[in-house]
Amino acid sequence: MTSSAIEASGLRKAYQDKVVLEGIDLNVRAGTVFSLLGPNGAGKTTTVNVLTTLIKADGGTVRVAGHDVATEAKAVRAAIGVTGQFAAVDELLTGQENLQLMVDLSPVRAKDGKRIVTQLLERFDLVESAHKPVSTYSGGMRRKLDLAMTLVGNPQIIFLDEPTTGLDPRSRRTMHSIIRELVADGVTVFLTTQYLDEADQLSDRIAVLDQGRLVAQGTPDELKRRIPGTHVRLRFTTAAELDAAARIIADSTREDEALTLRVPSDGGTKSLRALLDRLDEYSISAEEFSVHTPALDDVFLALTGHTTEVVAK
């Protein structure tokens, strides 16, 4: 499939004099998962709000499901489902009533509505709590209900704004498998996340957003090639030891000031043992040994030259 579900070019948005988006270009193919990765304050939610017709961009064009968001908002809205950053569920209603509310507001026929509600409750494992008020639900259950409500109208394109933020690891896994199921059904998913591993596991393409600009875009593998991969760090007590180690270990990168040697590695026991054996062979001992896997912070450091901490301010 080569058709685009979402196409944005030159998207700009500013609030008063604070620029939030500075020329965003996106292209999301139908039936794929696209992740917008970035720290808090990067402009992720603003991007979602523009793409979903909630706010108007100051400049640029956006087509969602083939319709212009500015001039054909109604047609766009008919094709999309949006799950915002916070679970937008009605606390005073029960889970079942929340879903029924969505049915009543959507063009779904009343006859089919009952069946849709029952199916969604079953699919999201909410049958037991269907008749309890949402105020008694856990965070994970709210998120599931939130997503179930989004699916009522059978949207072709789904926007998920940080769907797993604040969830425990188990709920996060559940959310991931739900997203995979959606894609298997042919739905296009646009998600935002702060977690590199989440984007890595779920997406076909990732775009990295930093201070309102896209600093990188590509498949997870392409992006990972651009950032320091998993590596081992060895810290020594003297410069002499560092010199000795750097001579015997191929492909290593030395950081003289920190007396540290960085060695690319897959992090597996076999390669680690080989590395340690080699050090032993030459009677070199490191003071400290650690395995590093790249995190969002490393991606940012590599792509922007600054860490996420700076951006968050």
Partner: protein, 247 residues
């Protein structure tokens, strides 16, 4: 597909029945205040007529204003929790979403006022209004409730959090005390008196008072209706633009 407005209204009604404390507050507080002023302080005021007959119209207005805090809070929680965004993406009209809140508020107000009038009768309230005058009272109350309701919805949409939304409605609750609700304006001090005479609630209260006495004044009524229409218009336009702009 049902009409969106009916769906929204039903949702608002469910909220009222699920959250009885807000109704309790809207119904009970005005009655407590009535009891306090009429029973405890009433003898100290000399207003020329039985104090309960003087105070009831003002307390009716107070009852309307008391219900507004709950409306502001619930509109704001819809806004800040993303529920309004969800409705917007589903193409539910702002008319349906916001009117639901206004109508639910007006109906809570009517329940509170019916209870208040009931208690007033128990305390010796003896109006001399004809059926037509009572209809006028009903019309005035609905108009007032709708007008302040729209203003409150706008305040609720614009506020940052449910707490500040509740706070934003406080001036509307306090305003009746600086009107002829509790004591006649001419008995107040300099400054406050002028304020009380010209603020919108005074002609509304005087209209209610006139109708309940069976002697409505058309001057007050015209001023009252004009104020209500003005407040409603400002509230509606403000609410509409905030609804469209804020995401």
């Amino acid at each position: 597909m049902k009409s969106n407005s009916m769906v929204m209204l039903r949702r608002n009604f469910k909220h009222i029945t699920r959250n009885p404390t807000s109704v309790f507050n809207a119904v009970l507080m005005p009655i407590v205040i009535m009891w306090m002023f009429v029973y405890m302080l009433g003898d100290a005021f000399s207003v020329g007529v039985d104090y309960i007959d003087y105070a009831t119209p003002g307390l009716m207005l107070l009852a309307v204003c008391y219900g507004l805090g709950a409306t502001a809070t619930s509109v704001n929680s819809d806004m800040t929790k993303g529920i309004i965004n969800r409705f917007k993406v589903m193409d539910v009209s702002r008319g349906a979403v916001l009117t639901g809140h206004v109508v639910a508020g007006v109906l809570t107000n009517l329940v509170a006022i019916a209870a208040l009038i009931g208690v007033a009768f128990l305390l010796g309230f003896s109006p001399s209004a004809s059926l037509l005058d009572w209809l006028g009272v009903f019309g005035m109350v609905v108009l007032l409730a709708a007008a302040t309701g729209w203003l409150t919805v706008a305040l609720g949409l614009a506020a940052k959090s449910p707490e500040t939304a509740g706070l934003a409605a406080v001036p509307l609750v306090l305003l009746p005390f600086f009107s002829s609700a509790i004591v006649p304006a001419e008995k107040m001090g300099q400054g406050v008196r002028q304020f009380a005479e010209y603020q919108p609630f005074t002609p509304i209260i005087e209209t209610l008072r006139g109708l309940l006495n069976g002697a409505p004044s058309s001057g007050d009524a015209i001023a009252a209706i004009a104020w209500c229409v003005g407040i409603a218009l400002v509230g509606y336009l403000w609410a509409r633009s905030t609804f469209n702009k804020r995401a």
